[in-house]
């Protein structure tokens, strides 16, 4: 069962002055410095490959997969879906700048009018609704394929997510979510991917959080399909014994906002494959 986020930004705003507040820029510098000192031999940019930046044998197998990765089918499907006109004759291209080509790295963005974080998935469904189409299932194959295609046209673009004054509350909420312990195992995102980043969890190597948001959507061999970042959030939460939230809930969008901001300066490398 998942509940939509009801935590009001107001509450966050009230709590904020209670502890020393770092600006997003300071957070980013400290975040990067943490991983640089933890992995002195690894270029920050290489963390975009997750655990495969940390282990040679795993990297070799992964590169073999990337040589002809299964997400290529999703990219083709996504392109066909993207170009399929709506009933009103318009298409997705009409809703985005540069007709939707090479723009994925601009998301998520803070919409100052709506006062909320807008992810590309949300923008795609709003585009559909604006043109009289029913929204897509956020956990379905179609949205993942569209995202795969849009990521593919955006490969190589550098992240430079902005946090305007009005977006600070959402950013802070996402940051808090990242560091809050959850579930029966009492783990935060940061427990595994910051504190223990690079360490082993049973047979797995824990990836660093710098680079966590650069490569979505991702074909996970475990899922046997391409899934979105929020699919992974749900899975991560469930893995520590917490109930996942609804995909595209405010809290997950805020988390994506924080995580993607922490990837600023890195290059978009989605779609990708992971085990």
């Amino acid at each position: 069962m998942r509940t939509p986020c009801k935590r009001s930004l107001l509450l966050v705003a009230v709590l904020l002055p209670l502890f020393a507040l770092a600006s997003p820029e300071e957070d980013l510098a400290a975040f990067r410095a943490f991983y640089e000192s933890r992995f002195p031999d690894i270029e920050l940019a290489d963390h975009a490959d997750g655990a495969y930046a940390l282990d040679e044998a795993k990297r070799a197998q992964w590169l073999e997969m990337e040589d002809f990765p299964p997400y290529e089918f999703a990219v083709d499907e996504g392109e066909a879906l993207f170009e399929m006109p709506f009933a009103d004759g318009e298409s997705y291209a009409s809703c985005f700048q540069n007709e939707g080509q090479g723009i994925k790295h601009l998301y998520p963005l803070f919409d100052e009018v709506a006062g909320e974080v807008v992810t590309l998935e949300l923008a795609l469904n709003r585009c559909r609704e604006a043109h009289g189409e029913a929204p897509l299932d956020y956990e379905g194959e179609e949205i993942a394929a569209l995202m795969a295609y849009m990521a593919y046209t955006s490969r190589g673009q550098t992240y430079d997510i902005k946090v305007p004054e009005a977006g600070l509350g959402a950013y802070e909420a996402g940051k808090q979510f990242f560091y809050e312990r959850r579930g029966q195992l009492n783990f935060a995102c940061s427990s595994c991917h910051l504190q223990s980043g690079g360490g082993m969890l049973r047979a797995e190597i824990l990836s660093a959080s710098v680079g966590h948001a650069t490569h979505w959507p991702t074909y996970r061999f475990k899922w046997e399909r391409v899934g979105t970042l929020h699919d992974r959030f749900i899975e991560c939460n469930e893995q520590v014994g917490a109930q996942g939230l609804a995909p595209q809930s405010a809290s997950y969008r805020n988390l994506e906002y924080f995580l993607t901001y922490m990837n600023n300066g890195m290059v978009l490398n989605g779609p990708a494959s992971r085990k």
Partner: protein
């Protein structure tokens, strides 16, 4: 949405290195749905590769080839403009194909 076999290839010293990816569920016939129902076996049994219409390689597979099979092979005595084609047939009689013009 039908997806054909994806093919890539490059010529090196007269030998073409071909890589292919075939969209197929490759069900073993032992996997169960959450409902408990067994998913029936559905897998590629045969793959035939041709060079300008001549058979150069024929593979037989069991269900232990991974989902969305990847298959790479090489062909000798090729020139730019030659055509490589790959076609699979599965245990239900379905088939799929792909073609590549070598550069």
């Amino acid at each position: 949405m039908a997806a054909d076999i994806k093919l890539r290839g490059k010529i090196k010293d007269g030998v073409a290195e071909i890589k292919s990816l075939m969209p197929h569920p490759m069900e073993t016939g032992t996997r169960r749905e959450e409902s408990g129902d067994v998913v029936p076996a559905h897998y590629i049994e045969e793959v035939v590769c041709q060079h300008n219409g001549e058979n150069v390689l024929r593979a037989e597979w069991g269900p232990s080839i991974s989902k969305n099979p990847y298959f790479a092979f090489s062909v000798r005595n090729v020139s730019p403009g030659d055509i490589i084609s790959v076609r699979w047939t599965d245990n239900l009689g379905e088939s799929g194909s792909g073609e590549l013009v070598l550069k």
